[in-house]
């Protein structure tokens, strides 16, 4: 590989090309969000996989809400960098956190 090609390869590797958006799963089992805290980047998608027979929500007070039906999944694409605590509106003892980097 020539020096020039190596340079291009390096440039690509250190992320001048935007990183691929990821889908991160959060499982809900017996009223627990797992993992409870997730680190993600803006543009990533969170997919909540509900193993319970109960409907849940992921709700941010004064912000967004995702309905997660029993035995189903629901997704949200993270729009911006922020740290948010969310909870289930039906069972407010269920809590989770998203740490979204730019």
């Amino acid at each position: 590989m020539s020096k020039r090609h190596l340079w291009i390869a390096l440039t690509l590797a250190i992320g001048i090309v935007p990183a691929q958006a990821e889908t991160i799963q959060v499982t809900i089992d017996k009223l627990v969000f797992s993992p409870a805290s997730v680190e993600a980047k803006a543009g990533d998608t969170i997919e909540w996989v509900n193993k319970d027979v109960f409907a849940h929500t992921a709700t941010v007070k004064g912000g967004w809400e995702v309905m997660i039906p029993p035995k189903k999944s629901a997704s949200l694409t993270l729009q911006k960098a922020e740290t948010v605590d969310y909870f289930c509106r039906f069972h407010p003892n269920m809590k989770g956190r998203l740490v979204v980097a730019p």
Binding site: K30, L31, V53, F54, A55, P70, C88, R89, F90, H91, P92, N93, M94
Partner: protein
């Protein structure tokens, strides 16, 4: 001895003082299953009354949540007792719970509007608190089957969630 304690427990439930808490006799699994199922049915009945009577969206939404969750828990309970070949056994605690609930429903049925909403939601807070206390101190520790214990533990988390949800709705009614 057993009869006397059971009668005392039933009397305490009727009077509404520290129900369950003083139970001297450890309930058996078939009795625990019956008590837990009865407790769910009671909350569904109260919720159906609220859905029929209340004009407050927060209260009706809450009541619908109660019907959905408690019916889902009880369906799981039925599946479990079938799998374990356990026949839920009626007992003084279940009977006292049902009697107390019938009295409460009769009281609620006479109320209208905001007075009904407040009484229903306040009772939901108190009722879930009472059932959670019983689950934690009596029913879960007494359960001998591991799957029954696990279902009761999930039930406790659900009911603790409902207690907080009810407190939230109560706060909105003020």
């Amino acid at each position: 001895m057993l009869i006397r304690h059971t009668a005392t427990l039933a009397a305490m439930l009727l009077l509404g003082t520290a129900p369950f808490a003083q139970a001297a006799d450890k309930p058996t699994d078939p009795q625990i299953a019956h008590i837990a199922y009865t407790a769910g049915v009671i909350d569904v009945e109260a919720a159906k009354l609220a859905i029929g009577k209340s004009k407050n969206k927060d209260v009706v939404d809450f009541a619908n949540d109660m019907v959905r969750d408690h019916e889902a828990v009880n369906l799981q309970a039925l599946d479990l007792v079938k799998k374990l070949k356990v026949t839920p056994e009626d007992n003084a605690t279940s009977q006292a719970l049902s009697k107390a609930a019938a009295d409460e429903r009769a009281k609620l049925a006479k109320l209208e509007g905001a007075a009904f909403d407040k009484a229903y939601v306040d009772n939901e807070v108190a009722y879930h608190k009472q059932v959670n206390g019983a689950l934690e101190t009596l029913l879960i520790p007494s359960a001998s089957n591991a799957e029954l214990k696990s279902l009761l533990e999930t039930g406790l988390k659900i009911f603790q969630g409902h207690e907080q949800h009810a407190e939230h709705v109560a706060g909105m009614l003020k």
